[in-house]
Amino acid sequence: MTRNRAIFLIATATAIAGVVLLLAEQGPVWLRVLFGLPFVLLLPGHALMLLVDPSERLGRAEWFALSLGASISITIFAGMALATTTFGLNASGMILLLTLLTLALSFAARAKTSAELLEEAPPARRNPELRAVANTLVLMTCVLLVLMAMTSGVGADGRGSIVQLWGVPAKSGGVRIGANNINAPSDSYRVVIEQEGRLISQQEFNMPAGGSRVFEIKKTATFTTRSPITATLADLRGEVATRTVSVWMNR
């Protein structure tokens, strides 16, 4: 492949990645990762390296280090520039900006490279171990990606039964009482809501792991603002200890 084609390839890859990312802004994550990561971490720096070292006097390791470092740097400055505008740091703006920057660098590389050099193939750097290196890197990257995919979201040590009870003053004047079962196996609960020992409400309900319930207590004339409303959550199977909240209504 001649240098001319190499530059053309980078420009085309950038344009395709840019269009795909713009069209798939709400699309599947795997597609956006496939195009987005090289678009941010590889292409801008590689385009810059085509401009810096058109005759490819530097080796592969040098190109890799400088491409990666330059890509990160270009992304930082492009992001900072976009964040200072009224649009702020947003996906569409960033895709357009990085596409334009990478294309501009590719065209600059094309313009600055002499005609003879453009039609010349870069020096062959075939290495018998290169395939093994690539395989190792790909393997390690796969392990990393699988680990990250497996562990998306909030990590946990998986111990204990986590059940939350909460209560906050409602904007309407009453209170909102809520219960969340994060991971407890028990799914039968009872909530008792009282004020000054006077029962306001009592409900038994099913709440499996991952489930939640909210109870709206509207302010009525029978409630007093002298003391808080208390709520107690009990696990009917007795596996989870009782939870209690006490909430003052808004004055």
């Binding site: 171990e129 290196v133 990393l144 040590d157 939350q164």
Partner: protein
Amino acid sequence: MAIPALFAALGVECVAIANSASRQTGADTQMMWWIGILSIFVPAAIALLFARVSRIEAISVLLTVGVALYLVKILFAPGMMWGYDELLHYRTLDSILRGHHLFTTNSLLRVSPFYPGLETVTAVIIQLTGLSPIQAAGLVIAATRLLTVTSLFLVFERLASPSRLAAVATLLYMACPSFLYFDAMYAYESLALPLAFACIFALRTAQREDGRLRRSLNGAGALLLLAVVVTHHVTSFILVGTLVVWSLAEFVRETRRESEQEGSQEAGGGLMRWRTRLRNLPGNGWVPLLGIVAVLGWLTTVAEITVAYLLPQLMSGVAELIRIIRHEGTSRKLFESTGGHGAAMLERVVGIGSVLAILLLIPLGMLYLRKRRPLSVLGALFTFGSLAYPATLALRFTKSGWQVGARLTAFIYAPLAFVMAAGIASFSTRKTRFPRLNALVITLVVALIFAGGIIAGTSPMTRQPAPYDPGITSVPYDAESFAAASWVAKTLPSEGRFAADSAEGALIGSVGRQWQLSSEDSVSVSALLLAPTVGDRERAIISQGRVGYVLADQRIIGTPPLKGFIYEKWERMEYDYGSSVGSETINKFDSLHEASRVFDSGNIQIFDLSRLLP
């Protein structure tokens, strides 16, 4: 080079199994963890020291070890940010993602929003790929790990031509105490450091090239330098300082060479002379100058807060060192946590042995480099730079200065690893009657240095995950704490003024998006939370500090603070609670009539104190 990769994979597996058992049951699986760690490092060291490896094979082995050690960090608590510093930067990242603008506020690390390089690149990846912040952060740090290893190898290669010496030096850099965990965390130094190495590599390569490639590489070096300036304060200071010293040394050497030439032959004109002098400077002189302007400009126009952030830490370390030299203060005990928890005897032996090995290798490496060939100016600077290591050892004896010394190791280990590799080369290239014994001794010394680095950089209590203990851990990585912080983020208004213990506070301040109160807000959190009852003084703290919420963690009750504190480092000056905090102290807000207990998840309760505010 499949064998080191295979051992690295097995090592990662060992660490995963050891961590899993330790996390679930608190079982002592240190031995298995160490076997895993050494399986990653030792076979790679043997391959790089003694096997016939090509340059590209050496790089691949180094990348394998670098990535495998990064996986060890990931396996500590997969899928979450478990380091204290990571949560500080997570808060800045979260603010950028929600507000779409930079330079926001961060109560946990107020300087962080003014160095937004790391968070900007992560935010871009999140927005473009749809990955979660934790996944995107993990990928960014994985990329920086690849950049660290490759750039460092290339820098060393340009200082000493044989690839083997450069490879061994890069491997020895991985023995740096901060390499395993601290510099693998989602924190600004983790990105700035590899960018700085890449910058030095670009400028050193440019020095040896001509014409357009030289100019372009200087330009690439300048781009990397500017990226460092907006990413991390200390790294940018050290990088610019290195470039300035390097420039001055090049200038002095060129002037000396000219004066020598003047004696033997006719010298060129004045202008020509200056052109030659500038030509030999790194970045032709303009890149270091740009660095000075950029650092000062950023400090004075954007990140003015940096001086107020860094100066007290540095000054207290120096002052403490002076007090110790004058026999006026007590020194910090080595191999002992702030709370008085000591390391095992074997760890002490390995730790001291590794320091002794390093101290022995420094002069040997210097001699080897001196004998071998005339060094480049940067090579000579690296050689002298290794002498900074013994100086940082002195800081380890101070209570506040040891942290400064620990942070500096990431920078000092670059020249140190280079000189250590030269010291090892002086043995490995020597012809002996017992080559196998020689190889065994060298391998053991390299493994000793690596193990010593891990011992110096991690505490035995926090090296592996364990069931959450607020007296030990700086960040709670248990499900209940994360669920509580997530509830806070979802239910309570952002930037509510929160008082909590330091561990839960880090989570509430980052994942919970609240304003974690500290002495910087003129609020004594420890005075409020350690008082056994809520009296007039505590009410005054609440109203004057506008404390909106407090968090009470039942797990604090009866837990000895082995890390030295629960709330703030100086908490015992506010209230001496004996060996551990009592139940009446933690539960005192229950008896406070005006307080609303708005959240209860068993161990964690959150109280709304807004009725106490004027």
